[in-house]
């Protein structure tokens, strides 16, 4: 070791309104496994996109120095030619093509007008052996599991003569054995001289494979990189560096209380959900939780912990298969089979994905506001009172301070914060008793966040209950009366507002991981 393979020098990358990377310095030695650690949104993926040319030269400031030269990648193809291979979190394989076809997509063997299939399959099986995948290269991608798909991605990278392998959360969708096999393989590659960068927030995995650890937080590198055997590396130090930011006065005041004496609004017992496609995979495992009237309950956890899946499965089984367990609303058992029945049982789920399954962007604020409660603006036989509908939409826009010229404005033309308010208005108009807010402030600016928090406080003041799923720990801490911690499909902790700190939450997540891998 000793030779610097990659040096990212004073990298700054801004998106409209956000500084995603702020003067980041990052150095990787040849032949090491370098872990890049940070919370969701810390800038890890953005940094790798700068490196790979996804964000082309010129769209950032600073220099990428690779193999001794400043590189000016215009696209991924150029960085691949230099031996940089990125394996993304979401696998980019085409299900109905074979392993070999996927591996050489865009790089087909033979000539442009005459693909040499024999060579292609032969080469493919060579690389499959290298990653220890015992499958025919003629197998369709859809017929192998995610773990094996990950290996195909790695084989694909090897086939491009990769010198620097970048793995973005490689184990997030793998089980324990698969994860271990993958990590061992990286160690193997290291022996053969391969350099790897592994992005992860699974601390036990990092301590297992990494030679050096760099930590990103809010778009900046925190402290010097930690080198194994030289610096002291403990979970505590990593966690502290990951989350240690100041909690300023970003939340509206509301007196936090212990609600354990108050009546329970919603209670969930023994809730188990299986993945809709891979029906043997448990997404939520025997979960119990409850929320009292007037309470804000935070649900913390890393991405992929199963929080969204849990909430959607509660909301009229809109996610998952083979759902089992009991739901009690105000002490009475309920069985909502679809979203309609969930709404009738006074549950609302404000989705994390505004554009995907939250709003109809091509329709007006008015139409979006009434969508979940059409009965509220129409007669018994389904005739809409459009004047009333207009009035309702306008009332909510005024109440939530939605900035719009009129409620006939298309939602697609609003800013993220205002879209979020329309989404909230829609669900408030459905008049639920329990509101599940999934990432209610994702991708919106600080001012709008504050307003959303005020709305949450108003809701609980009216006696409604709010479940807030969020990946932003400060937000969970700032708003919640009680906090549940979820990890890998299970509830791994429950903390009162006093007990909860960023460190104690992270510790709950980490300790369950260690317990599992031990």
């Amino acid at each position: 070791m000793g030779k610097v393979l990659l040096k990212m020098d004073h990298i700054t990358k801004t998106f409209p309104g956000v500084k995603a990377l702020d003067d980041v310095n990052f150095e990787v030695q040849e032949g090491e496994i370098h872990a890049l650690v940070g919370e969701n949104g810390a800038g890890k993926s953005t940094l790798m996109k700068v490196l790979s040319g996804t964000w082309p030269y010129g769209s950032y400031t600073g220099n990428v120095i690779y193999d001794g030269e400043v590189q000016k990648f215009k696209n991924i193809k150029e960085s691949e030619l230099k031996g940089i291979a990125v394996i993304h979190q979401e696998l980019a394989l085409i299900p109905y093509m074979t392993i070999a076809e996927n591996m050489f997509l865009g790089n087909e063997k033979g000539s442009k007008y005459n693909i040499n299939w024999d060579e292609e399959y032969n080469e493919a099986s060579k690389y499959l052996k290298m990653v220890g995948l015992n499958e025919s290269p003629r197998t369709l991608i859809k017929d192998i599991g995610t773990g094996k798909q990950q290996l195909v991605e790695i084989a694909k990278a090897l086939s491009k003569n990769a010198r620097l392998l970048i793995l973005d959360e490689p184990t997030s969708s793998l089980n324990e054995t698969e994860s271990m096999a993958l990590l061992d393989m990286l160690l193997d590659f290291k022996k053969q001289g391969m350099t790897s960068i592994i992005i992860s927030h699974k601390i036990n995995e990092i301590s297992y494979v990494a030679d050096t650890i760099s930590i990103l937080r809010d778009g900046s590198t925190i402290g010097e990189s930690m080198v194994k055997g030289k610096d002291e590396i403990t979970d505590d130090i990593i966690i502290q560096r990951m989350v240690g930011r100041e909690l300023t006065n970003r939340f509206p005041k509301r007196e936090k209380k212990d609600f354990s004496g108050a009546p329970v609004a919603l209670e969930v017992k023994n809730w188990t959900v299986y993945h809709p496609l891979y029906s043997e995979r448990k997404v939520c495992d025997n979960i119990d939780f409850k929320i009292h009237k007037g309470e804000v309950v935070g649900v913390a956890g890393l991405m992929g912990a199963g929080r969204t899946e849990l909430m959607m499965s509660i909301f009229g089984k809109s996610y998952g298969t083979n759902i089992s367990g009991q739901l009690y609303m105000d002490g009475k058992e309920i069985h909502p089979k679809n979203t309609r029945e969930a709404i009738e049982n006074k549950i609302a789920y404000v989705t994390e994905d505004r554009k995907g399954n939250g709003l109809i962007l091509s329709n007006s604020i008015k139409i979006n506001t009434s969508l979940a409660n059409m009965a509220g603006v129409s007669s018994k036989n389904g005739v809409i009172d459009s004047d009333l509908e207009y009035h309702v939409a306008q009332d909510y826009a005024a109440k939530l301070h939605t900035k719009c010229p009129t409620v006939e404005q298309n939602v697609g033309n609003l800013s993220g914060g205002n879209q979020q308010k329309v989404l909230l208005a829609k669900w408030m108009f459905a008049d639920p008793n329990v509101l599940i807010l999934d990432e209610p402030t994702r991708g919106i600016d600080v001012g709008a966040k504050y307003e959303i928090y005020c709305i949450i406080n108003d809701l609980v003041a009216e006696g409604k209950s709010v479940i807030m799923v969020s990946s932003e720990l400060p937000e969970v801490l700032g708003m919640s009366d009680r906090i549940y911690v979820m990890n890998e499909g299970r509830m791994v902790g429950e903390l009162s507002a006093e007990e909860a700190t960023q460190e104690s939450i992270m510790a709950k997540i980490v300790s369950t991981k260690d317990a599992k891998s031990a």
């Binding site: 109809i360 139409i367 697609g412």
Partner: protein
Amino acid sequence: MNVKSVLTKYAMTIATVIVIIFFTVATQGKLLFPQNVNNVIAQNAYVFVIAMGMLLCILTGGNIDLSVGSIVGLVGAVGAILMVNHNVAIPVAMLICLVIGTLIGAWQAYWIAYQRIPPFITTLAGMYMWRGLSNVILQGLTISPMPDAFNNIFNSYVPDFFGGNGFNITCFAVGIIICVAYIGAQLSARAKRIKKGYEAGSFSAMMAKTVIICAVVIFFMYKLAKYQGIPVILIWVAVIVLIYTYITSKTTTGRYFYAVGGNEAATEMSGINTNKVYFIAYTNVAFLSSIAGFIIMARLNSANPTAGTNYEMDAIASCFIGGASAYGGIGTTTGVVIGAILMGVLNLGMSIMGVDMNWQRVVKGGVLLIAVIFDVVSKRKSS
């Protein structure tokens, strides 16, 4: 609203007016002869009817129903066999036809809505199957004539109760009554809004729109009055268009078509049964196709194995020319009516001018393409 946004919003209406003026000049005024005005409605009645149903399908996500022309053929075949060969009472025969047409629709709709078979394929299959069946039923022959009593339900004229000579006073009076009722409705809706403190919009804009609409209605009814009065088929078309306008703009069911096309996932998360929305759309279009089947039977005074061929294309073209989005979620019945009129005027104008049938197709295809390009590009600019 500035000039540009008015132009964008009413682009197709303006285009239709230009096309009408063009053909009026090119045919030395023949286009606006009373008989020709009457023919625009009579020849294209089926397009209006089917397009109302097609619009609902397109709204759900740009999906089209290719089987409607074959359903027109099959319903005609069944109706003719029952009425002509078996002397079944006309109302009974019509009822049977409607039930058969609707059941066919429900069959297709089931696969589309509940098994999620792509509509294009399901209805393509239907297009072959129902066309084949209508041939089988008719044994490849044409059945005619249809009973007069049946033809009159669609093909006659409302008699003049005032005995006008060469000018149908009833027809013109109805035109005036429609205008008065329309103005009254607009004013009372406005008064109600102001009373409740809702936004009412500009008075002059409303009046301008009202005056234009009334002028068109009066002119149209005047022309019809100079021919044979109100054709019964106009009443059919008007009633069906009004019902579907009401459904799409005023009812929750109508709203769901737009919601599903706009964002199906969001609609489902809002507690709406999206499968049912698809089911209604595809069952309904077949129901309307059955009515179109009657209209065609009466107009041709016969049933033949090729009746209804390519009708799906006319309906689809009218919807897209009328501003329905090829991605779903956008489109109005008024737009579709304008689209159908534009197509009808093109057909008629070119026929009067003696343009070759094949060149007519070239022109219609070009208009369809331009309309959709305009729609897509103008949306891209505004977003």
